[in-house]
């Protein structure tokens, strides 16, 4: 049988790595599955890996690049003895303790689990997305902005991510049109002001993308006016989609209580999930705040919850381990 870990952490964004820092400093020798490389936000380091300047993380007066910030989190977690595997857990069994998790066909066992798998970018769900990915449709503005020098491109969405991407892309593109379903942005005030002041940014309000046009490369967007139902065409050679996120909870289906919106349910004021000994932190359980600092804060809470829970239950006989805790 494999060794039973004190705590396994799934995910390596601000939540997972902060949980690792605290758990490692509590001598729990956490095992952390950081995920696998990808060109979407679903990758080691999480959503911040595809951003540029992070200006609201306290302590960095002049801002810090997202990937650099996450590199520092990771180093700090490693410094205190976190064991990091660049793998993704693809199956879990939380029905009995110790819990079991599988990655690349190998079984791992753990007394406690922290779920910090975050969220991935929502796509439009159009068949054309598959065909045109890498041919004008991109999931990574920081990677691919360079290829759109002097071109007219579109960013779909109206939140902070959309505005950040659009602003970044004006370094390369001649014109960036923000296509948004509503008539006002959801982004923070400072981001909105930046977008409205930028002469290269245009807005296509109350419009839905019904198709990305082009056979072998992006040639335009088919739009639908959500108030009149009228169709129109926007000629662009590049498209970036930033219409929100979906929590990564597929592997926990049937194992943990999950909201209909896809977020893991936690007991208010804690990181306890519906299964004793399994804790959740960061964007996978937060539909409200979804910031790096709140994710990090809840990662800290999860590690402290785990430490206390292990103290109470770790070496308890099986019958005692069933005793409900005070939540």
């Amino acid at each position: 049988m494999t060794k039973v870990q004190n705590v396994v952490i799934l995910g390596s964004g601000p939540a997972g790595l902060t949980a690792a820092i605290y758990a490692a400093r509590a001598n729990l020798q956490p095992l952390l599955f950081e995920g696998e490389p990808s060109s979407t936000v679903d990758q080691p380091g999480g959503q911040l890996m595809l951003t540029t300047d992070v200006e609201n993380y306290p302590g960095f007066v002049d801002g810090i690049m997202g990937p650099e910030l996450m590199g520092r989190f990771r180093q700090q977690a490693a410094r205190f003895g976190t064991n990091v595997l660049t793998q993704r857990v693809d199956r879990v069994d939380f029905s009995e303790r110790p819990f079991r998790l599988w990655s690349e066909g190998t079984e791992h066992r753990a007394h406690a689990v922290i779920v910090a798998t975050g969220a991935q970018s929502r796509m439009l769900g159009l068949e054309s997305e598959r065909r045109l990915l890498g041919h004008g449709l991109s999931t990574c503005a920081t990677c691919d902005g360079f290829f759109f020098k002097g071109q007219n491109i579109a960013v779909v969405g109206g939140g902070d991510s959309a505005i950040e991407e659009a602003t970044f892309l004006t370094k390369f593109a001649d014109k960036v049109t923000i296509v948004h379903r509503r008539k006002e942005l959801r982004a923070s005030k400072i981001m909105q002001d930046r977008a409205f002041r930028n002469p290269k940014i245009d807005f296509q309000w109350e419009s839905e993308v019904t198709e990305i046009l082009g056979e072998t490369r992006v040639e335009g967007l088919q739009l639908n006016d959500v108030t009149t139902g009228e169709g129109s065409r926007l000629d662009v050679t590049g498209v970036f989609v930033a219409i929100g996120h979906i929590p990564n909870t597929a592997i926990f289906s049937g194992q943990l209580d999950i909201e209909t919106s896809g977020y893991i349910k936690t007991i208010t004021g804690s990181t306890h999930t519906s299964v004793e000994g399994v804790f959740a932190c960061g964007d996978v359980q937060d539909s409200t705040y979804r910031q790096a600092i709140t994710a990090a804060g809840s990662g800290c809470m999860a590690a402290i919850d785990v430490e206390r829970w292990l103290e109470e239950h770790h070496e308890a006989p099986a019958d005692m381990a069933e005793t409900p805790t005070n939540w």
């Binding site: 696998e36 690349e104 990915l133 590049g238």
Partner: protein, 109 residues
């Protein structure tokens, strides 16, 4: 240069691709691209493991935009497999895990 990754440029690209006995997987990348850095160590492992049947070469798109544009690369990392000096239809867009990359590459080598 079995097992190691070579850097190709606009000046050396055609010669390196045509002159290779093995298929060559060209990794289009740039320094500013995080996912490119994430996939680089995986490509090194694959180059070592597949030495003799596959070569891997890196092309910096920032320094060599002409080659990137010739093959319609608009997203990085993009990995294109060349055989007998010509691009095959194996074109991998985006960083992936080692097992996912091998699943795509293996049928071609």
């Amino acid at each position: 240069m079995a097992g190691s990754i070579s850097q190709v440029s606009e000046a050396t690209f055609d010669e390196e691709i045509k002159g290779s006995n093995e298929p060559v997987l060209v990794d289009f990348w740039a320094d500013w691209c995080g996912p490119c850095h994430a996939v680089a160590p995986i490509l090194e492992e694959i180059a070592t493991e597949k030495a003799g049947v596959l070569r891997i070469a890196k092309l910096n798109v920032d320094e060599n935009p002409g080659i990137a544009s010739r093959f319609g690369v608009q997203s990085i990392p993009t990995m294109i497999l060349f055989k007998d000096g010509k691009a095959t239809d194996l074109r991998i867009v985006g960083a992936k895990s080692k097992s996912a990359l091998l699943t795509e590459i293996t049928p071609y080598i």
